[in-house]
Symmetry: C2
Subunit: 165 residues, 2 copies
Amino acid sequence: MARPYTPGVDRAHPAAGSAPADPVWSSVRDRLHASGLRWTPQRRTILDVLAASDGHVTGAELVERCRAIDPATTPSTVYRTLDVLEDLGVVRHHHGPDGREEFHVLPEAEHGHLHCRVCGRSWEVGAAEVEPMLDALRRHRGFEADISHMALVGRCADCREIRRG
Amino acid sequence: MARPYTPGVDRAHPAAGSAPADPVWSSVRDRLHASGLRWTPQRRTILDVLAASDGHVTGAELVERCRAIDPATTPSTVYRTLDVLEDLGVVRHHHGPDGREEFHVLPEAEHGHLHCRVCGRSWEVGAAEVEPMLDALRRHRGFEADISHMALVGRCADCREIRRG
DNA sequence: ATCGCTACTGCGACGCGTTGCGATAGAGTG
DNA sequence: CACTCTATCGCAACGCGTCGCAGTAGCGAT
Ligand SMILES: [Mn+2]
Ligand SMILES: [Mn+2]
Ligand SMILES: [Zn+2]
Ligand SMILES: [Zn+2]
């Protein structure tokens, strides 16, 4: 049952005016203001969800979790906010083997991603491990690759073991 | 104006029974049969389109070109056939910055892909250029990465020049 | 408290693929 | 040629995301 758009009133967030306790998250509000952007109940919902998540989450999952807090949540708003937050460095995204988005919340260190096509598991790969190639690309072509967005698909050690080839 | 499903009759391909002249393409028919798969008018249409394409093409573009030959073409059939052809090594796909599929027809050599986020241009990167990293991943983790599926997003030399950072 | 600017929201429609289903038609066999 | 088996097809519905539009509401200034 989709609620119609009911401005203000029943949309008030439990603590609408304030930001989450964690200093990392609370700074977001100020950084938005500093860029002439705004602090809204919808954005607070998304930040609450992100603060409660960690590791990699798909866009659809985030939408779903927002709806758990506010059933009136709209996908377009979530995705647009994720774009904004990516500009702020709060989240990073890459794409799974099927092209779907996966978000990493507050990545401590830059890293790329490995996806096993067979078993579906995935791993993070540190910047150091790919640095040689990135250097080569920078030197030879002047291309500066975004590590966070990197996702390599292939077969993991276990799955290669099973079916030699 | 969508034509209803009109089996057989007006679906006959100009040279329905035969395969394209090029030996590479004609072999496809035999290789399908060898695997217990079938040669259909729809598949011939798609192969005609692929034979007339080169470099990278999006899935949507391929569907559109098929419709130019046979307006009754259905997306699901095209995508399913592309899957089959990828198994045969006739095409390879990767994903653009937005996650959309791009197909490379008959790649002579394995290669990865670079996409500039700013100007939107893209380049191929030879296997040799990535080999060091792939070796490292194989040695340290036993992970065998698919080069053809690799797509790095970032900023090209020109676009870095313009806005230093 | 009120006002004005404009960032942001929800909506609706669209684009790209994918999937399950029942009907069709390849193609090997006799 | 008829017959059978089943791969493939078209369809319809769905999932993920994006975009333009018109109305709303943050927020800084008065
Ligand atoms: Mn893929
Ligand atoms: Mn992306
Ligand atoms: Zn695996
Ligand atoms: Zn560029």
